[in-house]
C-alpha cells in the first residue's frame, strides 16, 4: 500500500498537466482562502483621494475609478466567481448525470423524449438561456447559479448517457443482472464508478465554462450587482479605463485566465491518469 502511494506521487509529479494545474489552482485557492479572513482594504470602501492609481506597494494591483483597492476586490470577486462556478457545476453535473444515466440505461421511449428535450436545450447558447431565465426570475446570485446550472445540464447528460450506453452491454452488467441487482443499484453502484474518470475530467472542463459564463454574464450586467465585486463585473467596470489605467482591467482578467488554466490543466491531467 505504501509502495502504491509512493508510485502515485511519482506519477503525479511526472505529469506536467497535473503538477501545473495543482500549482495554479493552489495559488488561486490560497488567495481566495486568505481573502475570507483578511483583505488589505475593505473591498467596497471608496476613497476619492486615491482614484485610478497604478501598481504600488500600498495598492499592489492599483485602485479603481472610485478609489477601491483592486487587489481586495479581486480576492473577494474570485471567491464569488468560484462559488457561482461550484454551484453551477453541482446543479449541472448532478442533474445531468441523473438524466444521462437514466435515459442511457432504460433507453426506448424515455430516452427518445428526454434526449430530444435536451437537444432543444442544447441548441440555445448557454448565455442566452441564462439571460432568459434571469429575465424571468430577476437578477441575483441564486437565479444566476440556477440558470447557469440548467444551461450546463445538456452537456453532462450527453456525456454520461454515452458512457452508460457503452457500459450497459458489458458482460459484467449482465452478470450483475443475473445476480438480481436492482436497476437503481445497477446504475449508481455498478455503472457510475466505471465512468468516474470521464465524469471528473468533464466536471473540471465544466468548471472552466462556468467561470467564463459567470464572467460573461456579470459583464453583461446580470450577475452580481454593485457595489459587490465578481471578476466579470470588475472587467465590465474597468473597460472604460482600459487605456488610462491598464492594470485595472488586466489584474482581474489575469485571475480569470489563471483559474481557467488551472481547471483545464487539472482536467487534462485526470483524463490522462492511468
Amino acid at each position: 500500500m505504501a509502495k502504491m502511494a509512493k508510485n502515485n506521487i511519482k506519477k503525479f509529479i511526472k505529469d506536467p498537466y497535473l503538477l501545473f494545474g495543482t500549482v495554479i489552482m493552489g495559488m488561486v485557492l490560497l488567495m481566495i482562502i486568505v481573502g475570507c479572513f483578511w483583505m488589505p482594504y475593505e473591498p467596497t470602501k471608496m476613497n476619492a483621494a486615491e482614484k485610478l492609481q497604478g501598481i504600488s506597494l500600498k495598492h499592489i494591483m492599483g485602485t479603481d475609478n472610485m478609489g477601491r483597492d483592486v487587489f481586495s476586490r479581486v480576492m473577494y470577486g474570485s471567491r464569488v466567481t468560484l462559488m457561482i462556478a461550484i454551484g453551477t457545476i453541482i446543479i449541472g453535473a448532478g442533474l445531468g448525470t441523473i438524466i444521462g444515466a437514466i435515459t442511457g440505461y432504460y433507453g426506448g421511449i424515455i430516452d427518445e423524449v428526454v434526449m430530444r428535450i435536451i437537444d432543444a436545450l442544447f441548441a440555445f447558447p448557454s448565455i442566452l438561456l441564462a439571460l432568459v431565465i434571469v429575465s424571468v426570475f430577476g437578477v441575483g446570485w441564486v437565479q444566476l447559479v440556477v440558470s447557469l446550472g440548467i444551461a450546463f445540464v445538456p452537456s453532462f447528460a450527453r456525456i454520461v448517457r454515452g458512457e452508460v450506453l457503452r457500459c450497459k452491454n458489458m458482460d459484467y452488467i449482465e452478470n450483475a443482472r443475473l445476480i438480481g441487482v436492482s436497476d437503481l443499484r445497477m446504475i449508481f453502484v455498478h455503472i457510475l464508478p466505471n465512468i468516474k474518470g470521464v465524469l471528473a475530467s468533464s466536471i473540471l472542463i465544466g468548471f472552466n465554462n462556468a467561470v467564463l459564463a459567470e464572467a460573461g454574464l456579470s459583464y453583461l450586467g446580470v450577475g452580481s450587482q454593485p457595489p459587490y465585486a465578481s471578476l466579470g463585473r470588475m472587467l465590465s467596470d474597468a473597460q472604460q479605463y482600459m487605456f488610462t489605467r491598464p492594470s485595472y482591467v488586466l489584474c482581474p482578467g489575469l485571475v480569470i485566465v489563471l483559474m481557467v488554466l488551472g481547471f483545464a490543466f487539472l482536467g487534462e491531467g485526470i483524463k490522462r491518469w492511468k
Binding site: D171, Y172, N175, R177, L178, I179, G180, H190, N194
Partner: protein
C-alpha cells in the same frame, strides 16, 4: 422419478429483434434463433451443449437464465435463479470493484435472506477456499488478476448463494490450454462436492467428453443429436456429430 428433474425445456423457440430494421419498414421483423429445442436435466447431471459458433448455444443459455424473455415454448425449473459463468473473464468482472466486493455483491442483493456483515465475510472466505484463491486477492482489482484467476472469481460469484443449477457458457474457451485444464478440474471438483447440476456449453468436443453425462449437439438453432455422451462418441448417429468428432480429432 419426476422429482429428479431440475430443468425441462419443451419446444422452445427463441427470437431476436431485427436490429437492421429500416426506418419505414412495415413490421418489426424478428429473427428466430432457436427451433423446437427440448431437453431435460436431472439433479446432479452435467449436460453439455455442443455445436459450432452461432448455432444458438448461448441463446439457449440466455433463455434459460432469463436474459432473453422473447420466446415461446416452456421452460420449467425446479429451483429459482440459476447462475451463469460467462465466456470472457476479461469482460465479466466489473473493473471498478475489488474482488472482495464482487464476491459479496450476490449476498448484499439477496432478497431471500438478510446476510450480516460477519456472515458475508465468512461466506466469502469459504468461497475463496472453494475456488482455490488466496485470501490476499480480495483486495485486488480484476485487472490485477490473470485470466484463469478471473474465471475462478466468476465461478465463485455464481456459487455464492448456493445455486442448484449452474450454467457455464464456454467457461474455458478464452483461456490457454494449461489454465483450461485447471478450470475444468475445478468445475469437476465443485460438481462432485456440491452436487450441483451444470449446463456446460462448449464448442470443443474433447472438453465436453471430460465432464459431461449427457450431450446435446446443435446446428443452426436445431437439436441434431441428444443423448448419453459416451454412447454418442462411440456411435454417433447424425452426420454433423460425426463431423464435429472428426474435427476434434476423436474419430477418424
Amino acid at each position: 422419478m419426476e422429482n429428479d428433474v431440475v430443468l425441462r425445456v419443451t419446444n422452445l423457440n427463441v427470437f431476436y429483434k431485427n436490429r437492421k430494421r429500416k426506418l419505414f419498414s412495415k413490421k418489426d421483423k424478428k429473427i428466430q434463433a432457436l427451433f423446437d429445442v427440448s431437453l431435460e436435466m436431472k439433479e446432479g447431471e452435467v449436460l453439455a451443449i455442443a455445436g459450432e459458433s452461432g448455432c444458438g448455444k448461448s441463446t439457449l443459455a440466455r433463455a434459460i437464465v432469463g436474459i432473453n424473455r422473447d420466446y415461446n415454448g416452456e421452460i420449467w425449473q425446479k429451483y429459482e435463479r440459476p447462475q451463469m459463468v460467462f465466456q470472457d473473464p476479461y469482460n465479466s468482472l466489473n473493473p471498478a470493484k475489488k474482488i472482495g466486493w464482487l464476491l459479496e455483491e450476490p449476498l448484499k442483493v439477496d432478497t431471500q435472506r438478510k446476510w450480516t456483515k460477519e456472515e458475508r465475510k465468512k461466506r466469502v472466505e469459504e468461497i475463496m477456499k472453494e475456488i482455490e484463491l488466496p485470501l490476499s486477492m480480495l483486495d485486488r482489482y480484476p485487472s490485477q488478476l490473470s485470466g484463469g484467476q478471473r474465471q475462478r472469481v466468476c465461478i465463485g460469484m455464481a456459487l455464492m448463494r448456493n445455486p442448484k443449477v449452474l450454467i457455464a457458457d464456454e467457461p474455458v474457451s478464452a483461456l490457454d490450454v494449461t489454465i483450461q485444464a485447471q478450470i475444468m478440474e475445478l468445475l469437476t471438483n465443485l460438481h462432485k462436492k456440491l452436487g450441483i447440476s451444470i449446463i456446460f456449453i462448449s464448442h470443443d468436443l474433447r472438453v465436453v467428453y471430460q465432464i459431461s453425462d449427457n450431450c446435446l449437439v446443435m446446428k443452426n438453432g436445431r437439436v441434431v443429436e441428444y443423448g448419453n455422451t459416451r454412447e454418442m462418441y462411440k456411435n454417433p448417429k447424425a452426420d454433423y456429430t460425426k463431423q464435429l468428432l472428426q474435427a476434434a480429432g476423436i474419430r477418424k
